[in-house]
C-alpha cells in the first residue's frame, strides 16, 4: 500500500504542476477581464481539484493553502469581491508556496510548515481588511477531524462513546427499505452482510408484503428485515452499515440488553415475546424460526430473484454502440522516447533493405522495399508528430514571469503572444524555456524603459513585449520583440573593447556588433540588477540554441526597440541530410544548411593561386577542403564537389570527393568520450552498416577561421 501511495504521489505532483499552471493562467486572464465567468469557473475548479487531491495524498499544507484561496474566490465568484492586484499577489504567493512544497522530494513538505501558515495569516488578514472576515473552519481542523475517525463517513462521529466497547450488547434492528431503493442503486444484501459480520446475528426477512406474481413489479423491493445482533462493537458500526440508505428506509435500532446473555433459552423466550408483542411476527413464524433457521434463507432468495430480473433488464438495455472516442491519452515520456528510438532503428534497417534491394536485381524485392520505405516514412512522420507539443505551454509560463518582473522593476509591460499553437518537439520546447526566460528578462530589464521616461519619449506608458512563433520550412521562428530603448551600438562596442572581446580598430558591421552581446562575459548594464546583467546571460542563450542546432539573430534600432529571432529545427531525432564522401569516409551535412552543389576542377584551383576561393556566378565564396580538414589519406579525384552552405548569413563551401545524395539521418550521439568535440554533432548508421559523421558546420567554420587567424598572426 505504501508503494502505491508513493506512486500516487508522483502522479499527484505532476498533476499539481499542471493544475497550478491552469490556475495561474486563468487568474491572469481574470486580471485582465474580471467579469469572465468561464475563467472564474476554471480557476475555481483547478483550486478545488488541487485541494481534494492534495488532501488525499497527505499534502495537508497544500490542502490548507488551497482551502484559504477557495474561500476567498468563492466570495469573488459570488460577486462579493473583485479580483484585484493585492488578491492576485497573495494567490501567487500561494501557488509559489505550493510549488516549493511539491519540489521537496523527501515529502518533508507534507505537513504544515510555517511559510504556509504565514500566507494563510495574510490571507485571513486580507479578508478581514476587506470587511469580509467570514469565520470559517480551516481546512486543517476539518481534515484532522476526518483523519481521527476510523471511517470518514460522518455518522461515525455522531454518538460515539455512549456504549463501552468490549462488552457484548444485543440489538434489534428493524429495517424496512422504501420500495424504490433499487432505483437509487441500493442493494440491501451487502448491508445485511456487513451487519452479520459484526457478531452473532439472526436475520429474519419478512416476505409477507411481496404481492402475487402478476402484481409484482420487479423493480421494487417488497421485503423488510429484522435483525437480532449480539456484538461487542457498539452501535456505530451498525449505523455505518446503513449510512447511505438511512434516508430511504425505516430504520429502528434498539438495544435489548447489555448482558450478552441472549444465548440462553430464557432470553429466547423473552425475545419471542417482544417480537410477538410488537406484532412484527406471527406466532407460527416465530416457532418455525426457532425450530429451523432455514426460513431465514427463503426470503433472501426472493430478493435474489428480484435481482436476477435486474440483470436481465440490464442485458436488454445494452444497445447503444460506441459513438464517441477518447480525445486524448497521457503517455509516459520515456515510452515515447523508446518509440522514437525504435523508429530510428527501423529507418536505418529500411535504408539497408532499400540498398540491397537495389543491387539484388530482383524486381519483386524492390517492390517490397519501396512499400516498406513508404510505410517507414509515414511511421516516422507520425511518430515525430506525437512528440510535438504546442509552444503555448511555455508561453503561458512567461506571462507570470513578465508580471513579476515588471512589478519588481517598476515598469509597465503589455505582454502579447502569438502563434502559441505552433508545435515543436517536446524536448526542444523544454530546452527553449531557459533561453527564452533570459531573453525576456533582458528585454524587460534593459530594453523597456520606466513609464516616465517612455512618456518623455512620446511612447505609450506601458511597454510592449511581443512573443511570437511561426513555422518557416523545417524550422520554427520564435521572435521576441520589444518597443524599448534598443541597443546602443557605440556602447556595446566600447564595452566589448574594454572587455577585450574585440580590438579597437576592428571593422565590424552593425550585425557583428549586435552579436557581441551573445559573447561570454559581456554585459552592458551599468549597475548589476537582481534581474539580469551579472555578466552571465545571453551567451547561455547562444549556447543552448546552438545545442538545439538553431540560430540566434538580433536586430535593433536605437530608441524604437529590439527583435531577437530564434530559428529552431522542428525535431532533433531525425533530419534530412546530404551524404558526402571523402576518401573512404562518409559525412552527413544537414540538408537545411545546403544551398547548392557545384563542381571544382583542378584548373579552378590553380586559377585561384591555390587559395581556397571559388567564383560562383560572379561572387567569391571561400571553401574548406574536408580532405585537408580531416587529414584524409589518398588523392582527390580530378573533379571534386563543393557543397555550398549558408550559415549565419555567410556562404561557405565544403569541398568533398563525391556527393552521394539525400539521406534520412537518425542522429545518434557519440557517447561520453566524444562529448567535448563540437565539430561533429553526432553520427548515423548508414544502410550498409557503416557509420557516417554528422558535421556541425558553424563550428567547423569557426574553427577554421580561428586557425587561419593564428596562422596569419604567426606569419607576421
Amino acid at each position: 500500500m505504501n508503494e502505491e501511495l508513493n506512486r500516487g504521489r508522483e502522479v499527484f505532483r505532476e498533476e499539481a504542476y499542471e493544475l497550478l499552471a491552469e490556475l495561474e493562467n486563468s487568474l491572469l486572464e481574470l486580471e485582465m477581464a474580471p467579469d469572465n465567468k468561464d475563467m472564474m469557473e476554471r480557476a475555481f475548479r483547478a483550486m478545488h481539484t488541487l485541494k481534494g487531491s492534495s488532501s488525499m495524498f497527505g499534502f495537508d499544507a497544500i490542502a490548507n493553502l488551497t482551502h484559504e484561496a477557495e474561500t476567498v474566490y468563492d466570495l469573488v465568484r459570488k460577486g462579493k469581491m473583485k479580483v484585484a492586484k493585492e488578491l492576485m499577489d497573495l494567490t501567487f504567493r500561494i501557488t509559489d508556496q505550493i510549488r516549493t512544497i511539491l519540489g521537496k522530494k523527501d515529502d518533508s513538505g507534507l505537513k504544515d510548515n510555517s511559510a504556509a501558515d504565514d500566507i494563510i495569516r495574510s490571507f485571513q488578514a486580507f479578508l478581514s481588511n476587506a470587511g469580509l472576515g467570514v469565520s470559517h473552519p480551516s481546512a486543517g481542523s476539518e481534515i484532522q477531524a476526518k483523519r481521527e475517525s476510523p471511517i470518514s463517513l460522518e455518522c461515525s462521529q455522531k454518538d460515539s462513546g455512549s456504549e463501552v466497547s468490549g462488552s457484548k450488547v444485543t440489538y434489534r434492528i428493524h429495517f424496512r427499505p422504501y420500495q424504490d431503493i433499487f432505483l437509487k442503486g441500493f442493494n440491501p444484501l451487502p448491508m445485511l452482510n456487513e451487519i452479520s459480520k459484526l457478531g452473532r446475528c439472526t436475520l429474519i426477512a419478512h416476505a409477507d408484503s411481496i404481492p402475487d406474481l402478476e402484481h409484482i413489479d420487479p423493480e421494487m423491493c417488497y421485503t423488510c428485515w429484522d435483525v437480532i445482533l449480539t456484538t461487542s462493537e457498539g452501535i456505530n458500526p451498525i449505523k455505518d452499515a446503513f449510512i447511505f440508505i438511512e434516508d430511504n428506509c425505516e430504520l429502528n435500532i434498539t438495544s435489548l440488553d447489555k448482558s450478552g446473555s441472549f444465548d440462553s433459552e430464557e432470553a429466547h423466550k423473552q425475545l419471542r415475546n417482544i417480537i410477538l408483542e410488537k406484532g412484527d411476527l406471527t406466532e407460527d413464524i416465530a416457532k418455525d424460526l426457532i425450530a429451523k433457521r432455514q426460513i431465514i434463507n427463503t426470503p433472501k432468495s426472493a430478493v435474489k430473484e428480484i435481482h436476477l430480473t435486474d440483470n436481465t433488464q440490464q442485458e436488454t438495455g445494452s444497445t447503444k454502440g460506441n459513438q464517441l472516442e477518447v480525445s486524448s491519452i497521457r503517455v509516459a515520456a520515456h515510452k515515447l522516447d523508446k518509440l522514437v528510438n525504435l523508429v530510428g532503428e527501423l529507418v536505418t534497417v529500411q535504408a539497408r533493405l532499400s540498398q540491397s534491394a537495389t543491387f539484388s536485381d530482383n524486381p519483386e524485392m524492390l517492390l517490397i522495399a519501396e512499400e516498406i520505405e513508404r510505410l517507414t516514412d509515414e511511421l516516422r512522420d507520425s511518430t515525430m508528430n506525437i512528440r510535438l507539443v504546442p509552444i503555448g505551454t511555455i508561453f503561458n509560463r512567461f506571462r507570470r514571469l513578465v508580471r513579476d518582473l515588471s512589478n519588481e522593476l517598476g515598469k509597465e509591460v503589455e505582454f502579447i503572444t502569438e502563434g502559441s499553437d505552433t508545435e515543436l518537439d517536446k524536448n526542444v520546447i523544454e530546452k527553449l524555456n531557459d533561453p527564452l526566460i533570459h531573453i525576456i528578462r533582458n528585454s524587460i530589464d534593459h530594453g523597456i524603459e520606466p513609464p516616465d521616461i517612455r512618456m518623455n519619449n512620446a511612447k505609450q506608458r506601458a511597454g510592449m513585449l511581443h512573443l511570437a512563433a511561426e513555422y518557416s520550412g523545417a524550422s520554427v521562428l520564435i521572435r521576441i520583440r520589444d518597443d524599448g530603448a534598443g541597443l546602443d551600438l557605440q556602447k556595446i562596442r566600447r564595452d566589448a573593447v574594454e572587455n577585450g572581446l574585440i580590438k579597437e580598430e576592428s571593422q565590424l558591421t552593425e550585425r557583428d556588433i549586435f552579436s557581441i552581446i551573445f559573447s561570454p562575459g559581456f554585459s552592458t548594464s551599468e549597475e548589476v540588477t537582481k534581474v539580469s546583467g551579472r555578466g552571465v546571460g545571453l551567451d547561455i542563450v547562444k549556447r543552448s540554441i546552438d545545442a538545439l542546432r538553431g540560430t540566434v539573430d538580433i536586430d535593433s534600432k536605437r530608441g524604437t526597440g529590439t527583435t531577437i529571432t530564434l530559428k529552431i529545427p522542428l525535431t532533433l531525432a531525425i533530419i534530412e541530410g546530404l551524404l558526402l564522401k571523402v576518401g573512404n569516409n562518409q559525412y552527413i551535412v544537414p540538408l537545411s544548411a545546403v544551398e547548392e552543389c557545384i563542381e571544382l576542377r583542378r584548373g579552378d584551383m590553380t586559377n585561384a593561386y591555390e587559395r581556397h576561393m571559388i567564383q560562383v556566378r560572379g561572387k567569391i565564396i571561400p571553401y574548406i577542403r574536408l580532405r585537408e580538414f580531416f587529414y584524409t589519406d589518398g588523392n582527390p579525384p580530378d573533379i571534386e564537389q563543393i557543397v555550398i552552405t549558408e550559415v549565419n548569413g555567410k556562404r561557405i563551401g565544403l569541398a568533398v570527393d563525391h556527393v552521394i545524395g539525400e539521406h534520412q539521418t537518425v542522429i545518434k550521439s557519440l557517447g561520453r568520450f566524444y562529448r567535448d568535440i563540437d565539430l561533429v554533432s553526432g553520427a548515423t548508421i548508414l544502410g550498409d552498416g557503416k557509420v557516417a559523421i554528422i558535421l556541425n558546420i558553424p563550428k567547423i567554420i569557426e574553427y577554421t577561421e580561428s586557425e587561419e587567424m593564428n596562422r596569419f598572426a604567426g606569419h607576421v
Binding site: G52, K184, N322
Partner: protein, 121 residues
C-alpha cells in the same frame, strides 16, 4: 468475472489511487476523465458500479448520476459520489439525482474498499 467499477474524476492522481486500491481488492477498474467520457465508456462492457467526483468539466458528477439513472441498462447500479464539502448541499443534490452514497475526501484506501463492499454485492 470480477465486478467492473468505473471511476470518474478529472484528477489523474485520484483516478490512479482509486484504480490501484480497487484493483488490489479484486475489482476491474475503468477510468473516465469526466461525465461525458464516463457515458461513452459505459457503452462497452457492462459496468457494475460508478465512483464519480462531483466537480468536473464538461459534465459534473450530479448530471452524470441523472443521466445514468435514466439509462435502462444502468438504472440500478450503485453510484458513489466523491465530495470535498462536508456541507450537505451537494450531497443532497447528489442523492436527489439518484446517487447511492458518498465518500468525503480525504479518505483512505481501506475506507474506499469498505464503502464499495457496502454497496456492491
Amino acid at each position: 468475472m470480477n465486478k467492473k467499477i468505473l471511476t470518474v474524476d478529472d484528477s489523474a492522481s485520484m483516478r490512479q489511487m482509486i484504480n490501484f486500491t480497487l484493483t488490489a481488492a479484486g475489482y476491474d477498474v475503468t477510468e473516465a476523465v469526466d461525465g461525458m467520457d464516463a457515458l461513452t465508456k459505459m457503452n462497452g462492457d457492462p459496468v457494475h458500479m460508478i465512483i464519480a467526483d462531483i466537480n468536473m468539466p464538461n459534465m459534473d458528477g450530479i448530471e452524470l448520476t441523472r443521466k445514468v439513472r435514466s439509462h435502462a441498462r444502468y438504472k440500478f447500479i450503485p453510484i458513489i459520489i466523491l465530495t470535498t464539502e462536508s456541507q450537505g448541499t451537494l450531497k443532497q443534490e447528489g442523492k436527489a439525482a439518484g446517487a447511492t452514497g458518498w465518500i468525503v475526501k480525504p479518505f483512505s484506501p481501506d475506507q474506499l474498499v469498505s464503502v464499495v463492499k457496502k454497496v456492491l454485492s
